[in-house]
């Protein structure tokens, strides 16, 4: 097997590889990578370098992990999971990423492909009009600082109080859409100024809103699918991928600076400046945690307002209230976040960066609705291929701090993708395959071409075989909105 690293990799199982702690000076625990041989051979060298750098951070427990969609990131690899003791461990903005609580939301409907296909162009136009995307876009919700601070504290709950959603939506969101411990006094004026007008916007890059189809032949576990509201028969669903927008980006940037200085004070040395960190219990660590939770809650609110707009768009096009179209949220899950969770080692601050929480059945953190089947996990593929709905497992609780993959993972640079196809050309090709695309930026569209990503089916198969998530359904795109 030809790899992009010369590091020692020991095969633990066909899907789990371990880099021993002796491989790099300073490693406190081994690094474990979830991948088949084929996926491992496509991983860039940054994955191996970065996951072993993470294994050197103070207070890390058990393993530094990387999921099969892993690729190079800032400090932590994308797909990285690491848990630190809350007493002697650190918290690192690089372990969360700039887009705090970037995440996925899936909304079901009672509509079928036969209902939607004749009106798909109209529906995509309506969605594109109601959900702003791209550089500098502003949302329709006008906020002052006081209201924005309420959003930081209440997250999706604020939106429900304002009429942007249904009360039952909350039981279908990780943490019920509101993480406690958010403190608006810990975020800068600049962060507020960047985010205050962006509620309900998608952003750009790999963020999207997608109309998808759940076909019978792509449902792998009908019983669990039914429990999640996925009934098949060419059922229409809507997937949303976005995060905390400029607000979260600024919170991350601000605290990276704070932590650079704090590290000197606490005598912490890291192998990469982007791994800047501080003891979790330090004033700086607690301030970041409180600020990060403000951004995480604003991201839940962002996806909630987008959900409201999606319901309004469907209602306008199909002439019926969203309630009668069965437009319930299936789930909303973060994939860039740090959270305090309890495991065999005790209370840990689990960092997931481009990785999804995947709690198994019976966990008290899950709402009654999903406690029996396990937590839904939403993994977005490229806009040309498909996405997956999965559920968490007990094995994930034991092996990966209740974590799994988040998407397919890039294999090609943005520049190379743009050289390979023009945005207009890609849009036409996708239209010929029955996928209608509305994009603010044609160059941005080309950067997101399907061939720039790993095959998501291979990635999903890996986590299924590793036992850390269970496949429920594959969702095929028919309409996509991009910034």
């Amino acid at each position: 097997m030809k790899l992009s690293t010369s590091m020692t990799l020991n095969r633990i199982t066909d899907e789990v590889w371990e880099i021993p702690a002796s491989e790099k000076a300073g490693m406190l625990v081994p690094a474990r990578i979830y991948a088949t041989e084929q996926i491992l051979s496509t991983m860039d060298s940054g994955v191996f370098e970065q996951v072993t750098n993470v294994a050197c951070l103070p207070g890390i427990r058990r393993y530094a992990l990387c999921m099969p969609d892993g690729h190079w990131g800032y400090g932590f690899p994308i797909g990285g999971v690491a848990a630190f003791d809350t007493l002697d461990g650190v918290i690192s903005p690089g372990g969360v990423g700039y887009d705090i609580n970037c995440g996925m939301r899936l909304i079901r409907t009672d509509l079928t492909l036969a209902d939607v296909r004749p009106r798909l162009e109209q529906l995509m136009t309506e969605l594109f009009r109601r959900v702003p995307a791209g550089v500098g876009s502003k949302g329709f919700v006008r906020l002052d600082r006081r209201k924005f601070e309420e959003i930081m504290r209440k997250g999706a709950r604020w939106c429900i109080d304002q009429g942007y959603g249904w009360h039952e939506d909350l039981s279908r969101i990780e943490e019920q859409g509101c993480i406690p411990g958010a403190d608006p006094s810990k975020v800068s004026d600049r962060a507020v100024e960047r985010g205050i007008s962006q509620l309900g916007t998608l952003g750009s890059g790999n963020h999207y809103l997608e109309v998808q189809v759940a076909s019978n032949d792509r449902i792998f576990d009908p019983q669990t699918a039914a429990a999640l509201g996925i009934t098949g028969h060419d059922q229409i669903v809507v997937m949303v991928h976005c995060g905390s927008r400029g607000f979260g980006h600024q919170v991350a940037s601000d605290y990276l600076k704070v932590f650079e200085k704090a590290m000197r004070r606490y005598g912490i040395a890291v192998k990469d400046q982007q791994l800047a960190c501080a003891p979790f219990r330090s004033p700086e660590g607690q301030d970041y945690f409180a600020g990060m939770n403000c951004a995480a809650n604003s991201a839940f609110a962002n996806r909630q307002v987008i959900t409201h707009q999606v319901r309004e768009a469907f209602s306008a096009v199909f002439g019926r209230p969203a309630e009668s179209l069965g437009m319930n949220v299936v789930y909303d899950v973060a994939h860039n976040i740090a959270k305090v969770e309890r495991y065999a080692e005790g209370e840990l601050v689990v960092h997931r960066k481009g990785a999804t929480r995947a709690f198994g059945p019976g966990r008290p953190e899950l709402s009654d609705r999903y406690r029996e089947v396990g937590q839904p996990v939403i993994c977005g593929g490229s806009m040309e291929t498909g996405s997956y709905l999965l559920v968490g497992t007990d094995q994930a609780m034991r092996d990966t701090f209740g974590s799994t993959m988040h998407g397919s993972g890039r294999t090609m640079s943005r520049a190379q993708a743009k050289r390979s196809v023009r945005g207009e050309q890609l849009k036409q090709q996708m239209a010929q395959r029955g996928i209608i695309v509305k994009a603010v930026s044609m160059s941005g569209l080309a950067e997101e071409a399907g061939f720039a990503y790993k095959n998501i089916a291979d990635v999903v198969e890996t986590v299924e075989r590793a036992g850390i998530t269970k496949k429920v359904a594959e969702l095929r795109p028919i309409g996509n909105i991009k910034g």
């Binding site: 690729h71 700039y98 500098g136 100024e193 980006h249 940037s253 640079s413 160059s443």
Partner: protein, 146 residues
């Protein structure tokens, strides 16, 4: 006066990296500014209707450039604008140590119907961040989170 930039491939798979250079620090900062502007929009499609003066002081040139570029990303979101053009003058504060920069940005409120929009920059990062003097040139390598 010569300032220039090139986008770097395979430095940041999911993001954008560039190298900027200039004969003087002012040219370096202008080249890097232009790279950030062009990452977000085709500046030829933007009119100079919005104006802003930027000023920064920093103990060293790398910090000055980092703060300056971060300001452009902040202004994009806080004012909902994309940019047309920038000017910059960098001076070294010899008696006290440190560097100063003062310049001007023009642009206008985002209008997707007229502006050729590109990527929304989330942040200027410290990954592989470097500012160095090479013979008679100043060179910076910057990775932007997209």
């Amino acid at each position: 006066m010569t300032h220039r930039f090139t986008f770097l491939e395979d430095v940041a798979l999911a993001d954008t990296a560039f190298q900027a250079s200039g004969d003087f620090p002012s040219e370096l900062i202008l080249a890097a500014t232009q790279a950030v502007i062009e990452t977000m929009v085709n500046p030829d499609t933007v009119s100079p209707r919005w104006h802003r003066t930027i000023e920064h002081q920093a103990p060293d040139l790398p910090s000055l450039l980092f703060d300056w570029l971060s300001d452009i990303v902040y202004l994009k979101d806080a004012h909902g604008v994309v940019f047309h053009e920038a000017t910059a003058v960098v001076t070294e504060d010899r008696p006290h140590g440190g560097w100063n920069a003062r310049g001007h940005l023009t642009g206008e409120t985002v209008d997707p119907s007229r502006h050729e929009l590109r990527a929304d920059v989330k942040a200027v990062t410290k990954h592989l961040y470097e500012v160095r003097r090479d013979d008679d040139h100043w060179i910076a390598r910057v990775v932007l989170d997209i």
